[in-house]
């Protein structure tokens, strides 16, 4: 691959860090505005926020300012240090996820050889933060929510990884850039015009990945850890102000990151048909393509979220262990057979 700019290591790192700090809050802002505010409102015959800024675009910034003004409250019985750390741990897992997400041939913070592995490992860090929050709040609802989150995220980590395995086998690499390349250079029955987005060959894996991601993100059919009507907010019931904002940002930042993972692994990533894989222009166009694909995936995540009721904890576990994991295993076996045969 060619290098766009040759910079000393520290300058490059500085630029990347600054970009990450800007990009990650922006991504959750985009998702919240587009889907949580506007799409949900339209699905419910409302307008959503429309007074703050043009079409209500500044609403979330107003909300963030509101959260920042609020008092930082600790429950009297709370384990203070853990209570304070929990949102940071959750947000850290989100930040670490962004490290490997590619948006162009060179537009990636760190091109790790084991990118997929790293992403899966880092994304499950957030469960630690949620458990910490649930435990340290000294609140029964929070504790129940934290325990539910732990059980659920562990159950869904497995199908998530197993679903990704199919892609990895087909692409023969754990590197996310490599997966994009494999899709770009792939051919469907000898026709290579649009490459070979793995959603075509790995549709089952894509479905399992999306369902598991939904659970991983605690979005609605699987939102028992939050469960407003049962646990009144679950693990973050005691959080106010800035710390709640961190949880909120992490939720949507992770949703964005998972949509990005899905679009990299299944939808062809930043590659545009007709360009060379290491064309420099893709560093500029790639992020746009990625954004469009991410929004498409996120649309489905949130569409499901606004439509479905939530499952019960035991039903969710049954679904994970009895349906998703066998299916994912079958998918791996099938992929392996096809890989050997063809």
């Amino acid at each position: 691959m060619t290098t766009l700019l040759a910079l000393p290591y520290w300058q490059e790192t500085g630029i990347k860090l600054g970009l990450a700090l800007v990009v990650i809050p922006t991504t959750s802002l985009i998702l919240v505005y587009l889907f949580l505010f506007k799409m949900m409102a339209f699905m419910q015959s409302r307008l959503g926020p429309n007074d703050t800024g043009p079409y209500g675009t500044l609403q979330l910034i107003a909300e963030a300012i509101k959260f920042l003004q609020k008092e930082d409250i600790h429950p009297a019985q709370a384990d203070r240090r853990v209570f304070r750390m929990a949102p940071v741990v959750v947000l850290a897992s989100t930040f670490l996820l962004y490290v490997v997400l590619p948006a162009g041939p060179d537009a990636v913070v760190e091109d790790l050889d084991t990118g997929v592995f790293y992403a899966m490992a880092v994304s499950s860090l957030s469960v630690l933060g949620i458990l910490m929050a649930g435990w340290a709040s000294a609140n029964k609802y929070a504790l129940l929510g934290g325990l539910r989150a732990a059980g659920q995220l562990i159950a869904y980590e497995l199908p998530l990884i197993l679903a990704v395995m199919g892609v990895v086998i087909q692409a023969e690499t754990l590197n996310l850039q490599g997966i994009v390349e494999a899709q770009a250079t792939g051919e469907i029955f000898g026709f290579g015009g649009i490459g070979n987005p793995f959603i075509l060959t790995q549709f089952l894996a894509f479905l399992i990945f999306m369902i598991a991601a939904q659970a991983e993100l605690t979005q609605t059919p699987f939102d028992m850890p939050v469960a407003e009507t049962e646990l009144v907010g679950g693990f973050h019931v005691e959080y106010t102000g800035f710390r709640f904002l961190l949880f909120f940002m992490a939720e949507f930042g992770t949703a964005f990151a998972f949509s990005a993972l899905a679009s990299v692994m299944f939808l062809g990533g930043w590659w545009i048909p007709g360009f060379d894989v290491d064309d420099n222009i893709l560093n500029v166009l790639g992020p746009g393509v990625m954004l469009a694909k991410i929004l498409l995936v996120a649309f489905f995540i949130f569409w499901v979220r606004f439509t479905y009721p939530r499952l019960r904890e035991d039903q969710l576990q049954k679904f994970a262990w009895k349906v998703l994991i066998p299916l994912a295993l079958a998918n791996i076996v099938l992929t392996g057979i096809f890989k050997v045969v063809f």
Binding site: M43, L144, T220, A227, E228, E230, Y308, R310, L311, R312
Partner: protein
């Protein structure tokens, strides 16, 4: 069968409670979770003291009275027309339906009969308030289970019904439209046509709910087989309304004990469901909402002409006597027992509200269920706090 099984049930519940107490002393990990008084699922201030073993409920006990407003006592120091103002606020979602049994009981004491036109309009408004009330349930049940959208649909479409009620009575929530001997006013011009179109919209709302929730596999997984109430237990606890009909008991006061309203003039049926679980309760209410829109449609066609007020004195004094009258309200049987000593106001009013009895089954039905099921059952029993505590 009923009595003994109930006694066994209570013995079981209290033994479980004792067990739970012992467990706490030994610190084996039972946990008391207070659901409410401030909890979104109790829509109001009901408190459920639950003993949990993990996520399983050992004992759940409803504690009510956080919203007691003393309406029975307040009615004693008010005249009959003033009482309806208070009675409006018992079941605040179906206010008009609350007034009717009270007024009918007072009319029975006075031996006055409202003219047929008034009875028809009463029935129409009664059914409209049933639609408004149950429509909110249909959406609210979705929110209890975690679906965000149905409740917004419910509020959107209930608004149309409330507008129709407001156009006649002047009040969206508290119509205060019934008078002893008839109604306050007649219906305005053009109202019949508007109501008909609103009823069409309510039927599409019911279809939407059917697609969004009833047909949804997740909803079914959450509701089927959860909180099963067998018919004999339901009767034993004095459940009424859709909760009873969902247990397979064919019992509807509109048909069985019509106090003179126009229900016997139209063609409709009582829906029952044999299962007795949360899904059955939802399904029965959905069908009832549809049926109510059909009843309204038929009633709108045949409103008789005539006066809307019978001859009653300007200052109402109800002769001494006692009367009990109940009707099939959106939530179940609502009855008023009026004792009159011949004064301007009642000497004593006993209000039999459906939610109070419906919620009393909670300790029986919530044994060994999971915490999410507590919410499902509470949602499907459908109570209104003002109706429990009045």
């Amino acid at each position: 069968m009923t009595a003994t099984s109930d006694r066994e049930q209570m013995a079981y519940v209290s033994s479980q409670a004792a067990d739970a107490r012992v467990n706490v002393e030994l610190d084996t990990g039972d946990m008391t979770l207070n659901i409410g008084p401030q909890h979104p699922a109790t829509h109001g201030t009901l408190r459920l003291a639950c003993r949990l073993d993990g996520e399983q409920v050992v004992v759940a006990e409803p504690i009510m009275g956080y919203m007691h407003r003393g309406y029975e006592k307040l009615c004693e120091v008010r005249t009959y027309p003033q009482c309806t103002t208070l009675i409006n606020r018992i079941d605040w979602l179906g206010s008009f339906a609350n007034e009717v049994p009270f007024i009918l009981a007072a009319e029975r004491l006075m031996e006055v009969e409202a003219p047929p036109r008034a009875q028809w309009i009463r029935t129409i408004l009664f059914e409209l308030s049933r639609v408004a009330n149950l429509a909110l349930f249909l959406g609210d049940m979705g929110v209890q289970i975690g679906a965000l959208t149905p409740v917004f649909f419910a509020f959107r479409d209930r608004e149309r019904v409330l507008n129709q009620i407001e156009e006649v009575t002047g009040g969206r929530f508290h119509p205060n439209f019934d008078r002893i001997g008839g109604l306050k006013d007649d219906i305005p011009k053009g109202w019949v046509e508007e109501t008909r179109s609103v009823m069409v919209k309510m039927r599409t709302f019911c279809d939407e709910m059917e697609d969004l929730l009833v047909g949804n596999e997740i909803f079914q997984a959450r509701c089927r087989g959860v909180g099963v109430i067998p018919p004999e237990v339901a009767l034993g606890y004095g459940l009424s309304g859709a909760n009873l009909r969902a247990s397979g008991v064919d019992w509807d006061l509109r048909r069985d004990a019509n106090p003179g309203l126009a229900w016997d003039q139209v063609d409709w049926r009582v829906w029952t469901h044999p299962d007795g679980d949360s899904f059955a309760r939802y399904w029965v209410r959905l069908q009832e909402t549809r049926e109510a829109t059909h009843i309204v449609d038929q009633l709108l066609d045949g409103i008789p002409s005539g006066p809307i007020m019978a001859k009653v004195p300007r200052i109402i004094k109800v002769p001494a006597g006692e009367a009990y009258l109940s009707t099939e309200n959106p939530l179940g049987e609502m009855g008023y027992y009026i004792v009159s000593k011949g004064d301007l106001g009642p000497f004593r009013v006993k209000i039999r509200t459906p939610s109070f009895n419906n919620i009393s089954i909670v300790p029986w039905v919530m044994k060994g269920v999971y915490v999410p099921d507590v919410i499902t059952i509470l949602g499907s029993l459908y109570f209104i706090l003002g109706d429990i505590d009045r």
